[in-house]
């Protein structure tokens, strides 16, 4: 959304030519004679500081028994923050120094968040590549003995797609309607109660959701294990995430938009469907994708409700026990045989790629249907 992409013109990013052209003199307080301009670090200031700190860190690592990649990075980051802030404080004053401190911290936070991501992805990819072959996506585990190589995860992939697909088809309309009620219609006790309990619902451990469906649907109504039962359990897990995120996003849609639409005589339901929901769509899709990502990786509830199978089961309703990718990972990773462990990592890689693909598709759809473009 363009609404948030306003750039602060007051603090040009490193490398942007400074209109003042103070150049090297910028570092000396003497240059702040104009009275209108606050003194600022020269454009090459930030890169210079970064380079200086890098050299300093290198010297420190060489000269002292610091050692270790982690320690080096930590020292570098700390030095950078301290030195740059101090310099800026001396030259530019408190406000600019704070601004630079925050900018550096924000960038560092982002880099820090990338570390585990790349580590996990690399770890999964290097282990998952061994069995990333045609057989893996074409065959099932039927009649694969404990020590056999080969086999595949087709049955599990199909199971995951069906279970998560059904769960999404139930949870998204349901969750959106609840969010619409809470934000657009809700008043008084009922809406407050719903909001409150949706929050509580986020903390339900996934295994409890599985147990709930197991005792109501499978044991209570005697429906038997099935992919659909798993979809029900996953729905319970998806709902609070969808409702909560959609609620936050709907709440952010300016009321002036609604008023304008209503003032033009558009009925309320159409206002909600055509104006409010599309405006909040990117955020809603993010929430839905978070929910889908979350339940795609769930093992315990699927184990209790779809139960698992080694053969291909196409019918999620009456086909009986069905497998799923996380279940497949869990069971194969716990095996003694390396061939099974390889299958588990390939399945993990597949699962991540699948969610990536869905995320990408969702982005495409969102971008195209956002109104105003």
């Amino acid at each position: 959304m363009s609404a948030g992409s306003v750039r602060d013109p007051a603090t040009p990013a490193a490398g942007t030519p400074s209109p003042a052209g103070t150049g090297a003199a910028g570092t000396s307080p003497a240059s702040s004679t104009s009275g209108l301009r606050t003194p600022s670090l020269p454009p090459w200031g930030v890169p210079a500081v970064v380079a200086g700190i890098a050299v300093l860190t290198g010297l420190l690592v060489l000269a002292t028994p610091l050692g270790g990649r982690t320690a080096t990075v930590v020292v570098f980051a700390l030095l950078l923050v301290v030195v740059q802030t101090a310099l800026s404080l001396a030259v530019e004053g408190r406000r600019r120094a704070t601004d630079r401190l925050v900018t550096t911290s924000v960038v560092l936070a982002f880099l820090l968040a990338l570390l585990p991501l790349f580590s996990v992805l690399e770890y999964t990819a290097t282990r998952g590549i061994h069995r990333f072959d045609v057989d893996f996506f074409y065959r099932s585990q039927r009649s694969i003995g404990a020590r056999d190589p080969g086999g595949g995860a087709y049955h599990a992939l199909l199971g995951t797609v069906e279970q998560v697909g059904i769960a999404t088809l139930i949870a998204v309309p349901f969750g959106l309607l609840v969010a619409v009620y809470v934000v657009e219609y809700g008043r008084g006790r009922l809406a407050a109660t719903i909001r409150f309990f949706v929050d509580v619902m986020t903390g339900i451990p996934s295994i409890v959701a599985g147990l709930f469906v197991l005792s109501f649907w499978i044991l209570g109504l005697r429906m038997g294990f099935s992919g659909f039962a798993a979809a029900l359990a996953l729905t319970v897990l998806m709902l609070p995430i969808i409702v909560r995120s959609a609620e936050e996003m709907l709440r952010l849609v300016p009321s002036s938009l609604r008023e304008a639409s209503l003032a033009l005589g558009v009925p309320r339901w159409k206002t909600i469907l055509r104006i409010v929901l599309p405006t909040a769509l990117p955020g809603i899709v993010t929430g839905v994708m978070l929910a889908v990502s979350r339940v795609m990786g769930e093992t315990a509830p699927v184990l209790l409700t779809a139960f698992g199978a080694a053969s291909i089961v196409r019918d999620p309703f009456r086909g009986g026990p069905q497998s799923s990718l996380p279940l497949f990972i869990y069971q194969q990773a716990g095996d003694a045989q390396q061939t099974a462990v390889d299958r588990a990592w390939t399945a993990a890689l597949t699962l991540i790629l699948l969610v990536m693909l869905l995320n990408l598709l969702a982005r495409l759809v969102t971008r195209r249907s956002t109104i105003g473009r």
């Binding site: 948030g4 306003v6 007051a10 406000r95 600019r96 990338l114 990117p282």
Partner: protein, 349 residues
Amino acid sequence: MSLGALPPVPTDPADVRPGSGDGGPRPASLPLRTSGSGTAEPRGDRVFRGLSVSAGVALLLLIVAIALFLVVRAVPALRADTAGFLSSTGWDPNALPPRFGIVALAFGTVLSSLLALAMALPVALGVALFISHYAPRRIAGPLGYVVDLLAAVPSVVFGLWGISYLNVPLAGVSRFLAEHLGWFPLFARAADDVYTRSLFLASVVLAIMILPIIASLSREVFLQVPATNQEAALALGATRWEMVRTAVLPFARPGVIGATMLGLGRALGETIAVAIVLSPAFVVSLSVLQPNSGNTIAANIALAFAEASATGRGALIASGLVLFVITLLVNVVARAVVSRRREFTGGAL
């Protein structure tokens, strides 16, 4: 200060409106309610409202059903318990007679989740701000996508990665902390100098898992802040951080708290990853750097469920009920915080 670099006024629906920089997320139903002064509601409206009301009621019923289910299953086991459920720390529900208490589990659950939140929240907000307000506009979208990927990693994989990749390096960090900051209760030194498989490791894994939840939703909230508010701040000469602090953060606070609650809920309820990385023990201990320093409710359910007797299952479900109550309490506190802020800032939130 030159304002020449201001981008053109966005043609976004959020800005196509008369008047100036209003647009705080005030309760949307307020103006709507007054506008519906006509006598008869159109049929489409009645149908749609009916649908959404019944969805809300259905969800409420679902939650009540789950709570009831937990209670019904838990009560027989609680009756059979010969130790105080709310006062003892041990967990032996399969023994005859059954003895189990929730104290150690509840403590470990809350402690690990709070640690995870303390680690994840600042980073997540930094990530969200970076993508919404600091990164070059062209790459911000893809970067957001990259962070969302972290949410795509299944918890089994986080668990396996945590134990086989993160365990040993983090033990080094733990030893460093214990040797230099051992006076701090959380960093107490381990008795036999072993720092692997600790509650700290579990917290770090949890932090990584909840990071994308908080970051993605906060990012969306930050992106929804009306441009006019931000432009006004900048026009008054604010630096970027001052603009964020005065225009973005106050507007986004309820949304960020909502995102945090979702993340905390995930941390409280996370099962398999914690079960894989933790060497659990039923103790109440603050020294989180060593193994056998705690256990969590959800992980214990995963570890004990497969071999539990009927009473054991009931006991595990009772622990699930406690988790339900913990989440409830956490949310009560969070709501109290939000509403107090709202009063304090005079409804500008």
